[in-house]
Symmetry: C2
Subunit: 203 residues, 2 copies
């Protein structure tokens, strides 16, 4: 056998062993359930990963919904794009902008409570399979919503409903209740190099 053929054979054997391990691991996982997913951390990708999951779910023919707790009446690319899916998407931008934009705590609280009421109504809609609660973590961080109530409601969701919560500084009680928590860490950010927020990328 040539060196090359021996190398190829070693690779095949190693990968066959790895496949056996992978297959055994996959076989152990049998639970199917609606997940509570949290995308947090200071890095990019919290909202876009939720949008990507929404796209994947749409491709499966699911109805999906999104409630935006902080983002207000901005013109964003995603709001245009999801129109391609018609009534398969139920989209609710109910924020009023960042706290430093409104400069009005009572108004911020009212907007968050309104958004949460909408989220509860969507959770009760059996046609929705995936619900994104964008920037809910920010509303919780500022105590604009009652944490215990929000966590209890999320935990009491229907067994087949997937919920994605985004935003920095996820509360420990929410992390405790979640099935999947990802921390987006910022290794390098173009804003630090003087690059501005650009259409199509940041919004």
């Amino acid at each position: 056998m040539s060196d090359e053929a021996a190398d190829a054979e070693r690779h095949r054997e190693k990968m066959a062993k790895r496949k056996a391990v992978q297959d055994a691991e996959v076989a152990e996982k049998t639970v199917e359930k609606g997940l509570l997913i949290v995308n947090t951390g200071p890095g990019k990708g919290k909202t876009t990963a939720a949008l990507g999951l929404m796209l994947r779910a749409l491709g499966r023919g699911w109805r999906v919904a999104c409630v935006q707790f902080i983002k207000g009446g901005w013109d964003t690319g995603e709001r245009h794009a999801i129109q391609a899916f018609g009534t398969q998407v139920s989209w609710h931008t109910l924020g009023e902008g960042f706290t430093w934009e409104t400069q009005d705590k009572a108004r911020d609280i009212a907007a968050c409570r309104h958004a949460w009421a909408r989220a509860e109504a969507l959770m009760a809609d059996p046609t929705i399979r995936l619900l994104v609660l964008d920037e809910l973590n920010i509303a919780l961080r500022y105590d604009y919503l009652d944490l215990a109530e929000v966590v209890a409601t999320l935990q009491a969701r229907r067994p087949d409903l997937h919920v994605v919560v985004t935003g920095r500084n996820a509360k420990p009680a929410l992390i405790e209740a979640a099935d999947l928590v990802t921390e987006m860490g910022s290794v390098k950010h173009h804003f630090a190099a003087g690059v501005k927020a650009q259409e199509g990328i940041e919004f």
Copy 2:
């Protein structure tokens, strides 16, 4: 002034100061450029964040493209969903599956080289504004492609082309060349609790 009114006024003043700081920071950022974006790390969200960015860009009317280096002929939700955008998306699934599925190193290398040639052709297409190179990091990790050549080609991209590279274990030379690098960290994963990979969520 009541306590409540005083509290509201303190909030307003604090937020007005914060807005001044934010506005000054935004004003400093003036550069517009096509970004080299890397989504890496062991956590979830690397590919879905790229898909979300693609959705945002599609909403801006951009043409976008995706080359999948590892994922093979699986039926995924995203492949169905992007059909809603017709010729606005150019999608290329050129992988042959994971290394432990093919168990054939020569075939894996050939597939990666074919995918990279396609990526180069798409980079040369001036109608494409965003290009996702899904799992390119895996191809680089196994030395299936020449790292120096890949990085040099990515750095020589047109000034207005955004490129997103996904996959674990991004090479330091790629991180060095990138504008934006996010590390997805796994805080909690449902697979560890026996939950299987589910349609609409994992694929």
